[in-house]
Symmetry: C2
Subunit: 607 residues, 2 copies
């Protein structure tokens, strides 16, 4: 029944050799891997204006040079990542690059911050998208958190069904979003070109404004670069591409870069030219759309599609997080289960973990996860900086043909990313300090996990010295009463023809004990019975004491002790509540605390 | 560590023969078993005035005859219960009496409603007491629910420590409450006797008031009789008394009856004479105390002690609920675990269940459980009526010396209780209807549980036809790799000298499968290896299919199949998260779904 429900929700299991069919073509990959990056134009440009607003509306013209700076940074990042895709066609992105080129610790810093970042991606995007919807339908506003959780659950399910199936669903909204924003930008430019917009609405370009210093400008730049989060997603996901994977990935990356640049530049320019001030309750895109088309069909289309892409941006996290977890699991830094493929060939444990953790974040922040945006941005630029630095070193070491240009691109990328990180720490220290706590903590956990796996691996490896051989067996059967369950276990124990067979009865009361001895002697005269008196009414304590004594004796003669537990199995699961679980407790206790072999002989009630 | 914490919280385990020391003497029993009944004078008299207030202040004089009616009912109940105590010295109260004299169904009605009632006792009393405290310290008001839950948890712990220990703690507040109320009553009478109270404050006695009909009067009477809830507690708890149990219990009952009557009558009379109208935000007792002593030390003493006794009234539920559950468990109507004594010889499962259920109620009603009072009262009078009816029949059947008087007392008790129940259903149907839902539902559950226990008992009883004997054994060892864990299991399997030993390896990929076969042939040439290919990456499915086939073959020859699971046991519990739990899953699956004997051979990492 449970497995039927599972099948209905995530589809029938797929065979391992059906893997190829689950791979992505470029059109789908662009939709699935870019929604995070593209959706950030919905809030990136606005961040620039919010910072500039501190110096008054006259300072808005600075948004144009700042926007150019962001576009420059985007170009550098795209070019740098293009080189990473070719150099690491097996995927892995920042973690793999930093680990191979810089060493384990930089790798773990990159991997750890990306891992946390993808969780933030999901929580932040879904919360923002939900906000957009509930702003449109105010009656839903108080249900923000449950709605966001519902979305996360739906996206998790889609991803458990498998990559391409979810990509088909994701493809339409992503392209619709690009289309809607292009219509908006062209419409706006048309209005400007035809003189429908008064040219005096915006401040004069190039006039220095009092109060605008370097601090404010770099802060605005860093804020604007939050529009670039998500650019790295493709580098983690190359193995999901159809062959030739690297080439297809690069083309997808370039297409994404161009789209991102066009949309970002268009929105920023219209906002500047229209002279729009950021308002807390209305988004910049909404203001632009309303000025351009009025509150008509096109306006609502743009708003709706924006909300949708924000929610779907979460999906980028779902394709990148599990792949990163696989890479970390291969190096034994996270539990091995993250590298197992599920029924539908996705890395289901990673997908489920991501869903659960982002739901926890959404609940903890009551859906107000927007304040995590700076944290999220700095968490992206740290691995950017590390992977570009790694690439720079790689070119320096290997010096392939044309290495000077490659080195230049990656070095500039590294420097630019590092600068953004430093700007964040200098201009927004109160918002990004948690990075300094969770990153080291996460790395300690990674190292502890690897330490454990290594110790276990060493301990279990077959060595020259064999395990001591077993000379004989002592079988102990705890008996609670004179029933068919016990009879079945005794029959089984006898069939093993062991050297010693002992039945043990724990009694709380002397009279019952005596009566049991008499009945036993009549029923099973050939099986030796030991009765244990338990003044504290515990079954496990006296039993384990007795077993300890037997094991000490047996061990001296290289005998092994086996406890045979007669287990009554009721017909229905809930019936277990009506029976004491001594058998189960004893089983766990003996295995984990006592190193005793435990055999369970089930007895099913005849139907 | 866990067991240390347990020891610290509830004390060291006691031996079964230390039971006598845990029994109650009369002084402690009065405190522990009467706090429920006594505390109800804190709200009982007020209920009468609230109903009469509907007809105006002139109608308050009716409270005197109504109060006399309640006292008469109290006398009848005390006398009736006195007879029950002598007739049923082994305890059990309404459930046992009704079951023996009237049959199983009336017994279950009585038992079921008492069971629910004790949960209500705890929830209602603790909520009311918490209200009293947070009314005094308004800053705590918004934490009502967590504070109430904390109190329930503390009382639960005290009861897990054991009866007499908690009785010692309970004794002081209970006696302090009686003392405080006696001081209040004497003080009030003194003021009246010395003429400090104007005699004209109250309405004229005996003047009929328009609008006061029979309906209003019986409603006021039923409301006032809510002061009698808790009277039955002693009858359930006789086995907790020191010998001679019945006699000690009867004396305690009489003492409680007298105290209850004095306090109830005193409060009611003062309220009438002072001419006090009930006010929603201030209790009647508070008003009387303020008028008598002013807002001084004595006033705050009375208020504080009242709050305390209300919280401790919950404790009555804790001594009665587990005893009732034991009686129901003996007859197999509730799970057997309710009849097992815990470390401190109390029936810990009953105590814990009561604590949890009342916390659930408190949370569900957000601490506003006062609206459950009518439900609670009707739930008490149903078993009153049933047990008195049972006693009436008993005297009719047995006709012992002086049976006519005994019959008379119990018949009047039965009739009076039944009348109260009927009045509740007629005058407050909207508040007591849930009884008609949960009582039948509870009885169905009782019967289902007994049905299950009976079926199991029949199924497990040793019969003439013996279980088929076992001719030989087939041992199957699932092997995941070539490790010391597997080596240990194979050594053990060989030592059992079974007829067949087969190692099974599940592989997800053909190359790995081939490599494994080669390595195996080298490592364990004498153990037959079967490899299973699992295209869907499940381990349990192909394994269970294979085991099914083996079992079919083996069963035909009266062979039994045993699956030997090599189980790696990590050093620390949390390490289990880092290893897959296939062994555990396989164990559960084979036992519960497949009727296969499962042996687990643990392998502990050398320290």
């Amino acid at each position: 029944m449970l497995s039927d429900a599972k099948k209905w929700l995530i589809g029938k299991p797929l065979k391992s050799n059906e893997l190829g069919e689950q791979k992505l073509n470029k059109r789908k990959a662009l939709a699935i891997l870019s929604s995070d990056a593209l959706s950030s134009v919905a809030y990136g440009p606005e961040q620039v204006f919010i910072v500039l607003a501190a110096a008054g509306a006259a300072a808005y013209w600075y948004s144009i040079p700042i926007g150019m700076g962001v576009l420059l940074l985007l170009t550098v990042l795209i070019l740098s990542y293009r080189q990473i895709l070719y150099a690491y066609p097996q995927g892995g992105g920042a973690y793999v690059v930093a680990k191979e080129q810089l060493g384990v610790y930089p790798g773990l810093i990159a991997g750890g911050s990306l891992l946390v970042d993808y969780i933030l991606t999901v929580a932040v995007s879904v919360s923002a998208g939900t906000d957009a919807i509930t702003s449109a339908i105010p009656i839903l506003h108080e249900y923000n958190v449950p709605i966001a959780i519902l979305f996360v659950m739906v996206i998790t399910l889609l991803n458990l069904r498998g990559l391409t199936e979810s990509a088909s669903i994701m493809a339409y909204p992503a392209y619709l979003f690009v289309l809607a924003l292009l219509i908006l930008i062209i419409g706006g430019l048309w209005r400007i070109a035809t003189g429908q917009e008064p040219p005096g609405a915006h401040g004069t370009f190039g006039v220095p404004v009092a109060g605008v210093g370097l601090f404010l400008l770099v802060k605005a730049f860093a804020s604007g670069s939050s529009a670039l989060t998500g650019v790295e997603a493709i580098s983690n996901a190359i193995p999901n591409f159809k062959a030739p994977a690297a080439q297809n990935a690069v083309r997808t990356l370039l297409a994404m870069g161009i789209l991102l640049a066009v949309l970002f530049a268009g929105i920023l320019f219209l906002a500047y030219y229209y002279g729009i001030s950021p308002r807390p309750e209305v988004t910049l895109v909404s203001d632009i759309a309303e000025r351009t088309f009025g509150r008509g069909f096109v306006y609502y289309l743009i708003q709706g599609v924006t909300a949708l892409i924000l929610i779907l941006a979460a999906n980028t996290g779902y394709s990148a997080f599990p792949m990163l977890a696989v890479n970390l699991a291969k190096d034994k830094f996270v539990p091995r289960m993250f590298s197992a493929r599920g029924d539908r060939l996705g890395y289901s444990n990673g997908i489920i973990a991501l869903g659960l953790l982002s739901i926890v974040l959404i609940i903890a922040f009551q859906g107000r996860t927007e304040r995590l945006i700076p944290l999220y941005a700095v968490g992206v630029f740290i691995p950017f900086a590390l992977s570009q630095t790694g690439m720079t070193l790689k070119w320096l070491r290997e010096k392939p043909k044309g290495w000077a240009l490659k080195l230049g691109i990656n070095a500039i990328g590294a420097l630019a990313s590092l600068t953004v990180v430093l700007i964040f720490f200098v201009t927004k220290p109160t918002q990004v300090w948690p990075v300094l706590i969770f990153l080291p903590a996460l790395i300690v956990v990674f190292l502890l996990i690897r330490g454990h796996y290594r110790a276990v691996g060493d301990g279990l490896r077959i060595s020259e010295e064999h395990e001591p051989s077993i000379e004989g067996n002592v079988l102990i059967v705890p008996v609670a009463g004179i029933t068919k369950v016990v009879e079945g276990s005794l029959n089984y124990a006898r069939s093993l023809a062991a050297d010693h067979l002992i039945a043990v009865h724990v009694s709380f009361d002397r009279e019952e004990e005596e009566a049991f001895r008499v009945k036993w002697a009549e029923w099973q005269p050939d099986v030796r019975l030991v009765t244990l008196h338990s003044p504290y009414r515990s079954i496990i304590q006296p039993l384990s004491k007795f077993i300890d004594v037997m094991q000490r004796k047996a061990g001296a003669a290289n005998y092994r002790v086996t406890v045979i537990i007669p287990q009554f199995v009721p017909k229905k699961g809930w019936h277990n509540m009506l029976h004491n679980q001594s058998g189960f407790l004893l089983h766990t206790y003996l295995l984990y605390r006592r190193d005793i072999i435990v055999t369970t002989v089930p007895y099913h009630l005849p139907k």
